[in-house]
């Protein structure tokens, strides 16, 4: 770590003991055909916290999430997940290890209902093989119902009972985002990555969503990393914030510290907001 090199004016996060660190990113760099999306970024996510990743447009936030859940493979750097250094892994492996996420532009399964979309989050937990599925009656049906119960709890939790059997394509945007959160929750993840969960929402929807995120964090103890543009929301929700700009980390610390950081202020003034 080169924490001393001309960075001492940056707010640094409190060093955490290893056992509390759920995920650590060390010196990760990612480039697409020569265009650098992420340059030498390091930070960690502690168990049970809400970690915000903020930064101006094009700062590399989404790329960072894509690296974490294995969709992109960084050219340099390592990712330590639950104490073990992770080699290259496919997204479905990340999913099976307890990383779930939502997307900036809602990525629901458009042809399916709300219920089926959330059920799809249970895919990894369901195991009945093809031949039981053919029969349906018996083990396959029992398994389906067992998971349906859990999904119904989520539907109840997110207060989307009224749209349970509605194809998601017909839902307004705010509700789609909520369903997507439900789908991610259905995976019972250890780490939940939220990519701009409140983008395009009105004030009321934002408040609802903030409440859900906090509830998820508190009720289920889920660790959350979220990208968000609304600074108010970030300050209210998150325990710690990491700030990116042009693919580099420019600040890391508590919301209050980050807000005071000159580098952050410059970065945000540099773009129209």
């Amino acid at each position: 770590m080169n924490a001393f090199v001309a960075k001492d004016e940056l707010p640094q996060s409190v060093p955490a003991t290893n056992s509390d660190v759920l995920l650590r990113v060390d010196n990760v760099s990612l480039a697409f055909g020569g265009v650098k999306a992420i340059t030498d970024i390091s930070f960690d996510i502690l168990k049970g916290e809400i970690r915000a990743i903020i930064g101006p447009n094009g700062a590399g936030k989404t790329s960072m999430l894509n690296v974490i859940n294995g969709f992109y493979h960084p050219q340099e750097g390592t990712i330590t997940w639950r104490g073990s250094v992770r080699s290259k892994m496919r997204p479905y492996e990340a999913a099976s290890q307890g990383i779930a996420r939502t997307f900036q532009n809602v990525a629901l399964f458009k042809g399916m209902t709300t219920l089926d979309n959330i059920m799809s989050g249970r895919s990894l937990k369901m195991h009945r093989n093809f031949f039981w599925q053919l029969l349906w009656r018996g083990p396959a049906e029992r398994e389906e119902i067992e998971h349906r119960r859990k999904v119904e709890d989520i539907i109840d939790f997110l207060e989307i009972q009224a749209i349970r059997k509605t194809p998601v394509g017909r839902l307004p945007y705010g509700l789609q985002k909520r369903v997507e959160l439900g789908r991610a929750l259905a995976m019972e993840p250890e780490l939940l990555l939220l990519d701009e969960p409140m983008a395009g929402m009105n004030l009321e929807e934002k408040e609802d969503m903030s409440r859900f995120i906090l509830d998820v964090n508190q009720e289920f103890g889920t660790t959350i990393a979220l990208i968000e543009h609304d600074m108010g929301v970030v300050m209210d929700l998150s325990d710690r914030v990491v700030v990116l700009d042009y693919g580099r980390k420019i600040a890391d610390g508590s919301p209050e510290d980050v807000q005071k950081s000159q580098a952050v202020i410059d970065a945000y003034l540099g773009v129209s907001h």
């Binding site: 009224a162 349970r164 509830d215």
Partner: protein, 661 residues
Amino acid sequence: MTGMADTASSGGDTFPKILLHNAKVFEDRTAVREKDLGIWQSWTWSEALDEIRVFSLGLKELGLKPHDKVAIVGANRPRLYWSMVAAQAIGAVPVPVYADSVAEEMAYVLGHAEVRFAIVEDQEQVDKLLSMDEAVPTLERVIYDEPRGLRDYDHTKLHGFTDVQDIGRGLLASDPGLSSAWEAGFSEANGSDLAVMLYTSGTTGRPKGVMLSFDNLIISARNANAFDGLNETEEVLAYLPMAWIGDHVFSLAQAFTAGYCVNCPENLDTVDVDRLEIAPTYFFAPPRVFEMLLTRIMVRMEDAGRIKRKMFDYFMGVARRAGEKILNGEQVPLSDKILYTIGEFLVYAPLKNRMGLTRLKVGYTAGEAIGPEIFQFFRSLGLNLKQLYGQTEASVYITLQPDGEIFGDTVGKPAPSVELKIADTGEVLYRSPGVFVGYYKNDEATRSTKTEEGWVHTGDAGIIAENGHLKIIDRAKDVGKLTDGALFAPKYIENKLKFFPNIKEAVAFGHERDRVCVFINIDLTAVGSWAERNNVNYASYQELAAHPDVYRMIESHVDQVNRDLSKEPMMAGSQIHRFLILHKELDADDGELTRTQKVRRSFIAERYGPLIEALYDGSTSKHIRTEVTFEDGRTGAIEAVVEIRDLAPHAATGKIQEAAE
């Protein structure tokens, strides 16, 4: 007409006793369902008994004593209904409270009732109650149904419903004799004991706690069941506030005495779907629900294709002509009978199906006058919709319309065992087994409402028509006089206005003034849909309300009302001379409506004083600034310039001899 039902023979004279009886007699019949987690979770009568027993034991262990008051706060949920009976089994008195009332209102009620326990739905209610420490010093324990979000709360005063049940279950497991001891505990109670306390929202002043005994509720319920032939096969949907006497009688008293099944909807957004799924056989709704249903039918039919709309209009014409007669068993031409049968297949049955009223045996509406056209609409579809007239103080039933004797403008004949008389002032008085014990801690009010002989003042002015049916004109105290001496019954006028789907609320003024003027509140759904069809653009409610085209439309409605009034000798003098359309919706949160959506006349008069002034000083528009409360409790102000329109009254045409009616 059936006589007074025998209390001892069928089940018992208190709800806990009836519960024991039902658990034995109806055992595996479904007692209650709740749409929860996507399906209708069901409990049989014997399961309900088990649930109630363990909860009751748990309550006792937590220190609930006889005569304690227990607040019940929340939406219709099986557990909350059970809580009432569980409390009654210990001798305590449940006090259901309107869940949507603001903290201050609720604090008054709970403080007045001196509740020791509160059983509530969820975090929202818990927060509300916990904030009332000072206003309700007696409150010792809060029990919640829905644990979500409450994990980190201090649980010294707070208990989960299931935790309380677990306490009871634990006790029961360690001492099997406890069950019979529990039953013995309420075997001594009898019908004259206090069953429940319901606070009436009241159009004026503080709410009053109406004390009702088991006899009040159970005898009234049994009479009503006998009157309409209700039995254990009925299905009802419990969706009206639990603190309201109607729900208490329909979803608890009558359900227990008849043994029928009560269905609790998933949440308020899904009531329509839930009603469709359950298809209740016995359905109660205030007029506004029927109005809403009708408005929605009409709005949706506007969007239908031409052929379909033609078909709909044609068969609705047939229904208007013949439907009610067929329902009443009167003679109709064969052609109409055939057309009605076709219409039943093409229109009526599908409509009833969409509303979830296919299996309806009896439907009631009450609380306010229902528009004759709305009433007729539903009846002409073949739905046995009837009106009743009731009060909390009467355990609902005062008058009922018997099958086959339905008149749109009357509220029916006295219910079984109810005596009725009209006082000299025109006020309706009644005496019945359902008459309440008294107002809690308010003897003065009790004395002024209930006479020594047991007659109760309804506060409504009415007349008994020749056919023995009661006709309500207005609140007794609201009936006033214009300066020229003409009778002014504001509600009568307002109701006539409100029968137009475009008009949501109306407030008439005229007492001790020279002429009648009204405020009008447009119905956003109906007018919005009209605007869409007529290419009227608007950005807000306020803009729509002030739109000249809307004014023109409302003016024609008002004129129509004047024409109607002019035909009634007693009312011809109170035609509307001027009106305005309010720039905001009247709202319970702003105190303009009661929680049951009735207008609070005096409050509105005060709040919109400048507008009333303008109505009578001849000006054609007026600027007004109004404080409003938003849903989240914040307050703000909206301003508008409201236009006032004049109308020319019609000449009176009614024959004078009818004035006697």
